[in-house]
């Protein structure tokens, strides 16, 4: 998995690409979120538009990150879900947990 970071005001946009899967992608995701929180960045937007696959470990890590960020009074939101990742979030019912956006401008405006 690869990542690109971009800060827009108080929001950190983390653009991910490749696989968020066990052993590599899930660990990297945790490190990116920890790094942002350590830098007092707690408004986070995960851009998943270039993610080709996410397994249950990757989904689990995303949930763990959501919980960690929320406990720190932050917000973690998702941008650009592919149809298959959308399917996965639907069947796991995690679509009810995450705020999901198709438009970056709308996503940025939603952070309070």
């Amino acid at each position: 998995m690869k990542s690109e970071l971009r800060d827009h005001g108080e929001v950190r946009i983390i653009k991910l690409s490749g696989k968020i899967t066990i052993g590599t992608g899930d660990v990297k995701l945790r490190e990116l979120i920890t790094e942002a929180l350590d830098q007092n960045r707690s408004k986070l937007l995960l851009d998943l538009g270039a993610v080709s696959a996410i397994d249950s470990s990757g989904i689990g890590e995303m949930v763990a990150c959501y919980t960690t960020v929320t406990k720190r009074q932050g917000q973690l939101k998702l941008l650009h879900l592919s149809p298959k990742i959308n399917d996965i979030l639907q069947v796991t019912q995690l679509i009810t947990v995450f705020d999901v956006f198709e438009d970056e401008g709308e996503a940025l405006a939603s952070f309070s």
């Binding site: 052993g23 590599t24 696959a53 397994d55 249950s56 298959k84 019912q93 947990v97």
Partner: protein
């Protein structure tokens, strides 16, 4: 007239997460040779990865000296995948429903749920050595192209 042979593959892997990539490449090769693509191919790979991750992490406790045996086969209209570990076995009925509200924010416990969503049949059996063998089948949306060779 010769009956087309099914496509088959058998792998023995050490319990390392990077070997999931090896098994995925073999499955993708079988799929390509059978013209099994798109949604079918994507969800087959997803289910295979989950079965292997469970076998490596929970079954074999990430002990590289323990082996994972993988059998994959594509017949005319369905794909069968069997993944066997050398662990102590487990009761799948004891895994809580990850979609229950109280479990929704748990960071783990979705692997078997994943497999059951994407495959038509998922059975857990006791392997001859006492470990777990998971057998999964998926009916293809479009029958695979007949294969003329066998591995």
């Amino acid at each position: 007239m010769a009956v087309p042979a099914p496509l088959r593959s058998h792998l023995i892997l050490s319990s390392r997460f990077e070997n999931i990539e090896v098994a995925e490449r073999v499955l993708l090769d079988l799929c390509q040779r059978a013209s099994c693509e798109g949604e079918d191919q994507y969800w087959l790979v997803t289910a295979l990865r989950e079965a292997l991750a469970n076998a490596i992490r929970h079954g074999n406790q990430q002990d590289p000296s323990r082996k994972i045996r993988v059998d994959m086969g594509i017949d005319d209209d369905h794909v069968t995948i069997r993944v066997e570990d050398e662990g102590r076995g487990f009761d799948p009925a004891g895994v809580p429903d990850p979609t229950s509200p109280e479990n929704l924010l748990r960071p783990s416990g979705r692997g078997i749920f994943y497999m059951r969503q994407f495959m038509n049949r998922v059975d857990f059996q006791q392997a001859p050595g006492g470990g777990t063998a998971v057998v999964m089948e998926r009916r293809l949306r479009r029958p695979a192209r007949s294969a003329s060779n066998e591995e």
